[in-house]
């Protein structure tokens, strides 16, 4: 489903060039559950941003579903992000002035879906994630775990093929963190491709396939059955 070919990215940090991605080759099959681990500055977040079309490489190519993403314009990438990619962030990134329901339906609002179509889709998802009672709450009225669940709902409302999670449990206590991971794994079990960046070795170990990165290179690519 995903194929990266010699993907390269150099950032200028304080005048010093930093090799964030060093000619990375990688392919991911549909439905995989993949964790990316490594020290800070190893390039794992950059890799996630590249996969999520939030960042563009200096050189190299990226195919998503046999279509070359590196050939798309900004408009094309935006449409692709909306349609095929869901993001979950460490800091949730919910919009404070919008209720849980409104936050979840934001991707549908952005692509111009009619309100009559949006409502049942959001309602079903709220129901499924056990957030029905919190639909009209503002983010500051929710707990961290609930906020992240809202953020996940927002990420999957358009039924994307690819779900990218950047330290999804980083701001949560271990109990709500486990809930969130289980929700993500549940979605993965339904067929969504899940790529998760994490610092936490025990969280990372749950993935079926684990990548270790250092200095922009893939250090280790490990697969085993879930244990």
């Amino acid at each position: 489903m995903i194929r990266l070919e010699q993907l390269n990215k150099v950032y200028q940090l304080g005048g010093e060039p930093v090799q964030a991605l060093d000619h990375v080759d990688l392919s991911i099959d549909a439905g995989e559950y993949l964790s990316v681990m490594g020290p800070s500055g190893s390039g794992k977040s950059t890799l996630l941003n590249m996969l999520g079309l939030l960042d563009t490489p200096d050189s190299g190519r990226y195919w998503l579903d046999e279509r070359e993403m590196t050939a798309l314009s900004e408009e094309g990438r935006a449409a692709e992000r909306n349609r095929h990619i869901g993001f979950v962030f460490q800091a949730y990134h919910l919009i404070d002035r919008l209720s849980a329901r409104e936050n979840i339906e934001l991707p549908l609002v952005l692509n111009g879906t009619a309100p009559a179509e949006r409502k049942p889709a959001v309602g079903a998802l709220l129901e499924r994630l056990g957030l029905s009672h919190h639909a009209d709450h503002l983010p500051h009225q929710l707990s961290g775990g609930q906020r992240q669940r809202v953020a996940i709902a927002r990420a999957v409302i358009r039924k994307p093929r690819l779900l990218l999670a950047d330290e999804p449990t980083g701001n949560l206590d271990s109990h709500s963190g486990r809930d969130v991971i289980e929700l993500l794994e549940e979605l993965n079990a339904e067929g969504i491709t899940l790529v998760m960046v994490t610092h936490d070795a025990s969280m990372g170990a749950r993935a079926h396939r684990r990548l270790w990165m250092q200095d922009g290179c893939l250090l280790k690519d490990e697969r085993h059955a879930p244990g």
Binding site: Y11, Q12, L13, G14, N49, G52, L54, D55, E74, E75, A78, A79, R81, N82, R83, F87, F89, A91, H93, I95, R97, L98, L106, P107, V109, L110, N111, G112, A114, P115, R154
Partner: protein, 406 residues
């Protein structure tokens, strides 16, 4: 994004930061209201002045002693002729074909006394034609009677204000009045009409022209009003009158003829310019409002950096983010304009209520111009900050950074 969703999204934003919104609305509203108010008053002044001059009628010529250049510039309003304009001249003009009537005018200030009360008042010497030309209406009694121009009959017509200050509530018709050393009988009181042509007729005493000539010991007329039979005759009659006067004044063309239209034209030009310039001054406040909108949009962009990153991650393109911020500024400008139009008209309505005789009306160009300017200014000033927002790289924006930092 659907327009309805866009409206709702922006609405949330504006109500969420109500104080900021209120201040911006206020700035725009003050600008729009100022434009409406000032142009409304300017236009009111123009109409007021034009109305006053219109009372003269478009078939009336004014002759002033002394020759003045009237091409361009303001026509002279003070006559300082070398050779007097006399009653004989007036009669000669009246006998020209095409002339309906003439009204000579001799004006001066003098002590007027009645019932032991003394006032310094304007005394106007003229004839019965003057009443009809200036549309002076009578409250009681009658205007000056028709008589030969050189007959100095001891009658007078007084203004409403004169009547109150000299006679109070007492009946006045048939009473005697003393102007300097001459006595005259009151035969009429003029209706209150306020100021006309810069002269308050309600504070003057009108007597036959010959009486005024004796009173002020002068042969010369201050003005001669000439009414033609039809407005279309004005232009063709002018040279005839001038030739006649030239012949009577030993070849000197030493009078000036003014038509109402030339007076009106000049005043119209001046007052239109005045309205335009006060409108332009008020428009500056709209520009100031625009700078405020720019600052507020910039602050909004900075505060919402991570939200912009998020919207981009959720599939908003650069254009969409740009549109989002522009529409926010436009909505504020539109609301502010509506508020300003309401306030402006309310204030003008209040002004009209307080001074009913003063016509206030906002010219359409000022109304449309003010709204268009408010929207244009908002669009122009929000453009740059909105583009800045649109171009934020989503990765950095999500971290809340507007620039790449280490």
């Amino acid at each position: 994004m659907r327009p309805a969703d866009l409206l709702r999204f922006n609405g949330r934003l504006l109500t969420g930061q109500w104080f900021r919104t209120l201040m911006t609305l206020l700035a725009t509203a003050v600008g729009v209201a100022a434009v409406l108010l000032l142009t409304g008053l300017g236009e009111g002044a123009r109409r007021f002045v034009l109305n006053e001059f219109n009372l003269l009628g478009s078939d009336v010529l004014i002759m002033l002693p002394g020759r003045k250049e009237t091409s361009g510039g303001i026509p002279p309003l003070t006559g300082e002729g070398t050779r007097d304009l006399t009653l004989a001249d007036a009669r000669a003009v009246e006998s020209l074909p095409g002339i309906a009537s003439v009204a000579p005018l001799v004006v001066g200030l003098t002590q007027v006394e009645a019932e032991g009360r003394n006032r310094e008042l304007m005394v106007v010497g003229t004839n019965q034609r003057f009443f009809q030309m200036r549309q002076l209406e009578m409250e009681q009694g009658r205007p000056l009677p028709a008589m030969r121009l050189d007959r100095a009959e001891a009658v007078c017509v007084i203004g409403a204000e004169v009547r109150h200050s000299l006679f109070g509530q007492a009946p006045v018709l048939g009473r005697w009045l003393r102007t300097a050393d001459r006595r005259c009988r009151v035969i009429g009181v003029m209706a209150e009409r306020g100021v006309s042509l810069g002269t308050d007729m309600s504070e003057s005493v009108i007597i036959p022209v010959a009486s005024a000539q004796q009173l002020f010991n002068t042969e010369g007329l201050f003005r001669l009003f000439i009414q033609v039979r039809h407005p279309s005759l004005i232009e063709s009659t002018k040279p005839q009158i001038l030739q006649l006067i030239q012949a009577r004044h030993q070849g000197e063309r030493d009078v000036t003829l003014i038509t109402q239209d030339s007076l009106l034209g000049v005043f119209d030009d001046i007052l239109k310019l005045l309205t335009l310039s006060v409108g332009a001054i008020a428009a500056i406040s709209l520009i100031v409002a625009g700078i405020l909108i720019m600052n507020i949009t910039l602050i909004s962009v900075t505060q919402r950096t991570s939200e912009i990153g998020l919207l981009k991650a959720l599939g908003a393109s650069e254009n969409e983010v740009h549109r989002l911020f522009l529409s926010e500024a436009l909505m504020m400008a539109l609301l502010g304009s509506a508020l300003g139009v309401g306030t402006g008209y309310a204030l003008l309505g209040a002004a009209h209520w307080m001074w009913p005789e003063f016509p206030v009306s906002v010219p359409l160009w000022a109304l449309l111009g003010a709204i268009a300017l408010a929207l244009g200014v908002a669009l122009v000033f929000a453009w740059l900050p909105a583009r800045k927002a649109a171009r934020l790289p989503p990765v950095l924006a999500l971290k809340g950074l507007t620039h790449a930092q280490s």
